[in-house]
């Protein structure tokens, strides 16, 4: 099964790295869409269906907190899984993300195995993924 992915990050480099990480992880990607902030992501979600969103937290225009708040309030995308990939170390803000409906978060720097493990759990897949690395923010 392939997934349509939306990657939200103001860093073009980071978007490339995340896409490459997903590809190397054996995560089957259908269409990969990109946005540089939450506002652009909301515009994309108005016209496209995606199966999974990977998002940064610190972004100009609309940050990750406002983004997930807006998403979860909108019927068309309220159930789409969102995983934050972030440098955020503030526990209160991370807890807020989870309270607002994030499906997990992972801190940068990350290892590909951590992304693979977290996404396999979030997407309900159990095969083809190695385990053994710690993953933060999973609430399974």
């Amino acid at each position: 099964m392939s997934y349509n992915i939306l990657i939200v990050d103001d860093s073009r480099s980071m978007r490339k790295v995340l896409l490459k990480t997903l590809q190397l992880s054996g995560f089957e990607i259908g269409e990969c869409l990109e946005a540089s902030n939450g506002r652009e992501a909301m515009d994309i979600l108005d016209g496209k269906w995606v199966d999974l969103i990977l998002s940064d937290v610190h972004m100009p225009v609309m940050d990750g907190i406002e983004f997930i708040r807006s998403m979860r309030d909108r019927d068309i995308c309220s159930d789409v899984p969102v995983v934050f990939v972030t440098t955020e170390a503030n526990e209160d803000r991370l807890r807020l993300l989870m309270d607002l409906g994030a499906n997990g978060y992972i801190r940068k720097p990350f290892r590909p195995e951590e992304i693979r493990l977290l996404l396999s759990r979030v997407m309900g897949e159990t095969d083809g993924f190695r385990t053994g690395t710690s993953v933060e923010g999973c609430d399974f």
Partner: protein
């Protein structure tokens, strides 16, 4: 337990460079800022009372190498914008790592910046922590950590 700023900064830089940029650096004892570097990236951490500025200065050669590693493409295909974008991510992760080690949720991480600084020698201000790092024996960069009132 004393929070050893310099050691924490070294540990965080090592972790980020090794994990995301596949580069192992060695830290030098020499005074930071005595080398010419080409690019600078910077990020702020702030709370109500204080501000921390973390600055990284690196050579173009090192910037190109870690950018190529980060993006998984050949160095000849790296643009100046790619390097600046990657250096922003580098300092962003260093800032986030430093924040995590501080274990104090009152601080907020800012938005990173990166620019060309044009091969000039820079010196740490007296109140700053400054360290040099090398890659395979060649000077690769400097890191500065400065605390100041907000």
């Amino acid at each position: 337990m004393v929070f050893e700023r310099e050691q924490v900064l070294k540990d965080v830089i090592s972790e980020v460079l090794e994990t995301m940029f596949f580069a192992m650096v060695e830290f030098e004892d020499a005074e930071a800022g005595n080398h010419c570097f080409d690019y600078q990236s910077e990020i702020n951490l702030s709370n109500h009372d204080e501000r921390i500025v973390i600055s990284l200065r690196v050579s173009e050669e090192f910037a190109a190498m870690i950018t190529a590693n980060f993006l998984g493409i050949e160095e000849v295909r790296i643009s100046c914008e790619d390097m600046k974008d990657s250096l922003k991510e580098l300092v962003n992760m260093v800032g986030g790592g430093y924040h995590a080690q501080m274990n104090d949720s009152g601080w907020q991480l800012g938005i990173p910046t990166a620019s060309e600084i044009g091969s000039k020698i820079t010196h740490a201000t007296p109140e700053a922590v400054g360290i040099n790092f090398a890659f395979f024996g060649e000077p690769a960069g400097s890191a500065f950590l400065r605390y100041s009132p907000a």
